[in-house]
Homo-oligomer: 237 residues x 2
DNA sequence: CCATCTTTGTGCACGCGTTCACAAAGACAT
DNA sequence: ATGTCTTTGTGAACGCGTGCACAAAGATGG
């Protein structure tokens, strides 16, 4: 979700709806599991169940990629794995830098699922000089001032931000200036980026608050039966 | 995002659209920052800019909560902080259990932003007996078999899953059986839950793949100018 | 070759979410 | 009290996403 300018009109990239793009990794994961079990073909119904979506939706999603199914049979698992991988750009290598090697950054660096899909950690960066040179997940932490060199030399186009919120915009600006055009932000801030740069955010706090909202609602619906359970709310001063 | 049964028809809870609920934490964060700077009022235009959304959308969002603005002036910051907090259920305490205290689970336990908004870590649970008793972020790791007791005793309704994917469904089942009705899942799996249980997922791998898709598209649009840049794709067998 | 059966691919309708644009509300000065 | 100016609250239009339902495609068996 790009936060800076939200004036991207739901970017239907190459005719593939954004909502579909967001589900492709889900399908890919389910298909990979089937592939490992050497299942040759799968029906839209089965695959949809495994991915937790509606089967019509899945078929429509696949129809955007082309017609890869066989009526009466289903989809060829291996072939679909290949097609989706290619569509998502996972047939190539994506060097990634992680900025901010604290609790979270270190966990991310140690995360195995990273490398598994073509994402390779090119470097770990931190502003703390005390961390410099220290090995995290087998990689040395390097100083943030090496950012520009590393991004240029390793052709990094994806950056992961795991710094405190206060440093996130500054780090973003440096990443963008250095040539990074995709950012995954774990810091709880809205980032401003120029057009052409994609930002996606992962925000634990927001997720919990959304859960709390629904949780409160569930509890409220049980407890009290008054039609108007909340304070009518009046403007104070 | 509930994954199990997606047959919730966009649950317009108490008349508040789901999309609005998801933005309330964003507004709250921006408002809290204003409040700390002792800013008394804010216009929809300013607040929208701070939250990275369209101002009309923000006004419509607030209109679902009631009419808390003053025409010609804007919104009272303190009052709005209170109203949104109340609406999200943040005026009460939410005990949370974290299951799976590995790299990620430990980082989550150490995360300060947790406690700041009424979310209190009630317990850290792990299946690894070697971890039992060890202190993480000042809390002792307890064995997974204490789950049922802890959930019941501490009235836990929110669970965070940071176990490997293979254990996630089993942990989910135990959490649900014990009475947890909201789950935040960090494991890369689709979870099945009964109706009435909310699941939201945070999936690093999916986010990166979505970024890679757009990244590939950007690169492709520059490099080659052929109208049809991809392999036409033919069924193999 | 024909009949049957399974499963895809999609036309269609509907509802949610977004955004524009503006009338009404209210503050504030004179 | 009246006028001006700012900003809210919302009606209306539009586009995207979803899911039903079904025709067409193709496999399979006789
Ligand atoms: N820990 C979690 O589970 C968690 C969860 C959700 C969100 N977050 C967010 O992720 C971010 C990191 O969290 P954390 O717990 O790892 O924090 P942390 O304090 O452990 O680590 C932050 C790291 O960033 C480094 N840093 C600070 N300024 C920098 C700069 N300008 N350039 C480069 N590096 C810089 C620090 O030296 C430190 O090593 C925070 O924004 C936090 O809110 C963390
Ligand atoms: N580390 C990351 O940055 C990261 C990022 C995205 C997703 N994830 C996902 O989060 C999960 C945890 O990642 P991690 O890197 O912390 O892994 P980890 O192996 O470091 O930690 C997993 C922990 O779960 C515990 N565990 C295993 N089975 C359990 C069970 N049945 N009940 C309770 N505890 C159990 C293990 O003892 C271990 O302590 C994984 O599913 C991973 O895919 C991690």
């Amino acid at each position: 979700m790009a936060t800076g300018r939200s004036h991207r009109p739901a970017t239907r990239s190459r005719g593939i709806p954004e909502a579909t793009v967001a589900r492709l990794p889900l399908y890919l994961r389910a298909l990979t599991a089937l592939s490992e079990r050497s299942v040759p073909t799968v029906s839209s119904e089965e695959l949809a169940a495994a991915a937790g979506v509606n089967s019509a939706k899945l078929r429509k999603d696949f129809s955007y990629l082309g017609s890869y199914g066989t009526r009466g049979v289903g989809y060829d698992v291996e072939y679909l794995v290949y097609q989706i991988s290619r569509e998502l750009g996972l047939t190539q290598d994506w060097p990634v830098v992680i900025v901010g090697i604290g609790n979270l950054g270190a966990a991310l660096a140690n995360y195995g699922g990273f490398a598994s899909r073509g994402f390779r950690v090119a470097a770990l960066l931190d502003a703390d000089t005390a961390l410099a040179g220290k090995l995290v997940a087998g990689l040395p932490v390097r100083h943030i001032d090496e950012l520009e060199t590393i991004v240029a030399d390793s052709q990094v186009s994806i950056g992961v931000i795991a710094t405190p919120a206060g440093a996130a915009q500054e780090v973003t600006d440096r990443l963008v200036a250095a040539g990074v055009t995709s950012i995954l932000n774990f810091a709880p801030t809205v980032l401003s980026v120029p057009d052409g740069v994609d930002v996606r955010k992962v925000d634990l706090s927001i997720e919990l608050q959304i859960l709390a909202f629904h949780e409160q609602r569930k509890a409220g619906d049980e407890d009290r039966q008054e039609p108007d359970g909340d304070v009518p709310a009046v403007m104070p001063a």
